[in-house]
Symmetry: none
Subunit: 203 residues, 4 copies
DNA sequence: GATGAATGAGGTTTCATTCAT
DNA sequence: TATGAATGAAACCTCATTCAT
């Protein structure tokens, strides 16, 4: 049993090495320009080894995407209990996302590219965990509407998309400009909510 | 002189044929999976002819991007006179963008992919015309702040990014779902402004 | 028109170069161990050039097979008029086949391998021209039965298979052993017929 | 000693398991497309285990070939005593071969491929047991010539090759077509001899 | 001895780009 | 200028073989 679990642990270790290298190289060069050989080399394995863990390049990309989003989802759900109301939970979602993206900047690049990929290279599947995250936040938005915090005029799914778009945009801005100024991403949580809830109108 | 300008006109015609084909194929298959051969064939030219107009694949992509954005910019600037105030001009910007994207859905896909490309495949240059558009709207936002329509608390550049993100998101949603319902994209102008100016808060 | 036909002629020339190299290498190393790179190199073209003429390795192999058998068939049909009766035509078939195989010894190796390939690697199609040849000889056998030269007890298709098997075997023997003795393959025509018609029984 | 022989027996058992799987897969996919992994998996061993019994893939293929032919040879020699005369012994050879091939259809496919392989992929050795079988039948043919049953005009080695070719061809035909009709292969023994001894001539 | 993960050479195929016509 | 065949580098992926456990 010990033997078996060590074997399994080793297996996960290798898989994780490969995913880490993939994350780095996909972020650095993009899906098409990152080669399996490069990824294997960065992970310090032979090319063929990658194929013991992922059936092809797509599966590696998709696996990476899923893995990361699962991790984010489990963090968000884990912390959700800290707040009772829906807006509180949304705040937690935003904060944890910001922490996550600050820690996983390589993945953030990949995450940004995903929308386009889904729109164009249709062989890429929509990530199930990505779906779950969307459903999670959409549900919170519906609740906030029921709690009369968010206006019922809006379609909750649309609100959710706009919400996520604002979140992404602010992270992207920080990513491109502010991170050099040493400002932490988490500090941008409030501004995101201000955009979302109140807009920019003067009063 | 007439001869020369006819020559030049013919040249522009070929260039334009190629760009049209490129637009279609980049939107259909993505940058990497669209081949120069395919594009040339769709434009009804030989492969080599493409290289008489664009130095390489990147230049073709970039040229396409520029051309389209120039077209949008000139439309927007052309109609800008119809309104005096900054918010009115922003409305015109949104409306014309919506009309433009509804007419240029292939290009919209490419436009969506651009953010990721700039972030990842760094050899792609930032489009000067894209810059101009950003500067144009940013200037309007600043004016709106001076006119006390938009709160001065916000950084105008950031507001602009959020503004564009909301615009893109709503178009994307329409693109993925609503266009089948026969609703015209222009009708979404108001909702975009509502998100931007007032947010979703109840009161 | 001259231009066009020269172009086409050049095209056929290249195709033919490639087929010649393929014939040599498939015969030397077998289908799987002959690489496209080797074939291209032997034909003095770049690897990619092969793919301008044949969609993949299978198509190259199949194309070669067809080309050669077409050539044999047209020779056989061309000479068929020299004899009136069916046995005479069969003799011509055998003689021309022997001449052909003596001239195309590389192809003969490939031809020998074909039966096995069809039996095992089922993706390989049965050559239409091979079929035609079979039908041609089977028809002659039927005629010989009608002319009371060949016993009607036998199934003509089976006779044909046996006939071809004897032919192949004798060629193969010559190929492996006798060709060094300087004996020409055509001289074996009679013995093939003797095996086929009278068998080896004493009287 | 008992221990040792049990060990040895176990060893033979494993070897035999592997050969069985190899027979199946080589017949199904051909030499090149059958992988050692597949074979090991079908035999329910690990990949590496195959290499404890056969030095490489070629040796496995060759071993399989030898094993099977040894088995056929020993059957044929075992039954040879049932007849005194050479033709009788040849009949036994044919009958036992037919029984053998009907029972070992996978191997028959491999056997058919062998001629081509020897001709083309020259690294494959000529099977010693195959040689022995050839010598055995060639000797019988010589005897039949001495007994004035077969004409002395023919070269006994050549007769033998033709003989085997007819045998293979008839089996192959049955294999491809008649086996569905429920006709047993052994029933074709007479027709093989008729082709060989009397040919197809009318009278 | 048995295992099966790891290796990495090597195969097929694609495609941006060039250049002779 | 327009053509499109030719180029050949480079990608993905497979698999015989090895070797630490």
């Amino acid at each position: 049993m010990t033997t078996l679990s060590r074997k399994e642990r080793d297996r996960q270790l290798r898989r994780s090495d490969i995913l880490k290298a993939a994350e780095h190289l996909f972020a650095l060069k993009g899906y098409h320009n990152a080669t399996i050989r490069d990824i294997a080399k960065e992970a310090q394995y032979a090319t063929g080894t990658v194929y013991l863990h992922f059936k092809d390049k797509d599966a590696l990309y998709f696996g990476l995407f899923e893995e990361k989003l699962k991790s984010l989802l489990s963090i968000v759900e884990g912390k959700a209990g800290q707040s009772e109301d829906s807006i509180g939970k949304l705040r937690i979602f935003v904060q944890e996302s910001l922490v996550f993206f600050e820690k996983n900047q390589d993945f953030f690049k990949i995450f940004i590219a995903e929308e386009a990929r889904l729109l164009i290279e249709t062989r890429f599947l929509k990530s199930p965990t990505g779906q779950q995250l969307h459903e999670y936040t959409t549900k919170l938005i519906k609740q906030a509407q029921e709690e009369h915090i968010i206006s019922r005029d809006f379609d909750p799914k649309q609100v959710n998309t706009v919400f996520v778009a604002i979140l992404k945009t602010i992270v992207l801005e920080w990513f491109k400009e502010e991170k050099v100024q040493g400002k932490s991403l988490v500090d941008l949580s409030d501004i995101i909510f201000r955009y979302l809830l109140n807009g920019i109108s003067n009063k």
